[in-house]
Amino acid sequence: MQADNMARFFQHLFNRGTKLTDEQLMWRFAGTGDGEAFRLLHERWHAPIFRLCVRMTGDEHRAEDLRQETFARVFRFGREFENGRKFSTWLWRIALNLCHDELRRRQRRPELALATTDSAEDSVRVEEPMCDGPSPAQQLETGERHAAVRTALLELPEHYRSVVVLRHYENLKFAEIAEALAIPEGTVKSRMAEALKQLNTRLAPLELPATATQRKLLPTSQAACL
C-alpha cells in the first residue's frame, strides 16, 4: 500500500504540468486555486508576453510592467476563463489590450524617456575583440539595423503592428490572430500585406543582404517562413 502510494506520488510529481495543456492548467488554477498550475503557465508564457509588450511599446521597462499586469489579470480573472476557449488566445488578447491602453495613455500624455536600456543599444556596445566573434564594425552595423527595424515597426499604426508582431515574431497563424484580435481572417491578411508594404518602404534603404551571418541570426523558435 505504501509502495503504491509512493509510486502514485512520483507519477503525480512528474506528470504535474509537464503533460498538461495550458487549458488544463488554467482549469486547475481556476477550479482549485492551484498555485503550481499558475506558476507553470507563467513559466511557459512570460517570455512571449514580454516580447510582445516590448515590440508593441518599444520600452522594455514598461513592457515588464505590462507583463506583470497581464499575469495579474490572469490571476484575478481566472474564474472567467471559459471552457472550450484557447488559453493562448485569451492571454494574447489581455496583453494586447494592455498594450493598447498604454499606447493611448502615451498619446494623451507624451513622455520623454530619461534613458533607455534597449537591447539595440546593448548590442551596439563594442566589446573586447574576439577571434570568432563579430568585429566591432559588424556589431555596429547589426546595432544600426536593429535600431532601424525597431523604429520602422514602432512607426507603424498600432493595428498593423499588432498583426506583424503576432504573425512574424510570435508565429501565430492568421486564424489565431483573427481570434485574438476578434476580427475576420481576411482583415488580418490585408493588414499584414499593408504592414509589409509600409515596412518595405521604410526599410528599403537598409537593403539587407541575406548573408549566411544574417540567416544565422534568424530566431528558429519563432520560425517565420518569410
Binding site: H46, A47, A120, V149, L153, R167, K189, S190, L196, N200
Partner: protein, 186 residues
C-alpha cells in the same frame, strides 16, 4: 494569366498552405515575375524584421532555469527509492505486502461485523416493540367484544322472559296482570 490572391501569397509566404496549393503557387512563381517580385519584397522585409531581437533577461528566466535542477533532484530521489526497492528480497516484499493486506482485511472485517451486529440488535428491538403493540391492541379488542356480548346476552334473556310471560297470559285468556318487577327489563 490568373494570379493567386494576396491572401494566398501570404499563406504561402508563412507556410500555411497545404502541399497541393503550395506546389501550384510555386509553379506560378516560376512563370510570373510580378508575383515573384511581390514575394521577394515580403521576404526581404521579413529578413530585415528578424534583426530586432528581444532578449529575455536572466532574471526573468530564473524560474525556468530552476526547473532542470528540481527535475534532476527528483530523478535522483526516484533512482534512490527504486534502488532501495530493488535491494529488498522479492519474497520478503511479497510477505510484507501479504501481512499488510491481511491486517487491513481483518480490520475492515471487524468493523463490518460490529456494524452488522448492532444493526441486527436494533432490528430485533423494533420487532419486539411492534409485537407488544399488536398484543396490547388484541387484548383491548377482546375485552371490548366480551362486554358487548354480555350486554347482548342480558338483553336477550330479558326479552325471552317478557315474551314467556305474555304468552302464558294469552294462553289463560285472563286479563294480563302487571308484570312482576323481576321480569321487567332493566
Amino acid at each position: 494569366m490568373k494570379h493567386p490572391t494576396q491572401d494566398q501569397w501570404l499563406d504561402f509566404a508563412y507556410g500555411e498552405l497545404a502541399e497541393p496549393q503550395r506546389l501550384d503557387l510555386e509553379a506560378h512563381l516560376a512563370v510570373c515575375p510580378d508575383c515573384a517580385r511581390q514575394l521577394n519584397e515580403w521576404r526581404r522585409t521579413g529578413q530585415q524584421l528578424n534583426a530586432w531581437r528581444v532578449d529575455v533577461s536572466p532574471t526573468r528566466e530564473v524560474n525556468a532555469r530552476r526547473w532542470p535542477w528540481a527535475a534532476a533532484a527528483a530523478i535522483a530521489l526516484l533512482l534512490g527509492v527504486t534502488a532501495g526497492r530493488w535491494s529488498i528480497n522479492p519474497a520478503d516484499l511479497r510477505g510484507q505486502i501479504a501481512t499488510e493486506l491481511r491486517a487491513e482485511f481483518d480490520q475492515k472485517l471487524n468493523v463490518t461485523t460490529a456494524q452488522w451486529l448492532l444493526a441486527r440488535q436494533q432490528d430485533q428491538q423494533v420487532t419486539l416493540d411492534l409485537l407488544k403493540q399488536v398484543e396490547a391492541r388484541r387484548v383491548a379488542e377482546d375485552t371490548s367484544l366480551r362486554k358487548s356480548l354480555e350486554t347482548v346476552a342480558v338483553l336477550t334473556q330479558s326479552g325471552f322472559q317478557q315474551a314467556n310471560y305474555q304468552m302464558r297470559s294469552l294462553a289463560s285468556r285472563a286479563e294480563p296482570a302487571a308484570v312482576p318487577a323481576a321480569y321487567r327489563p332493566n
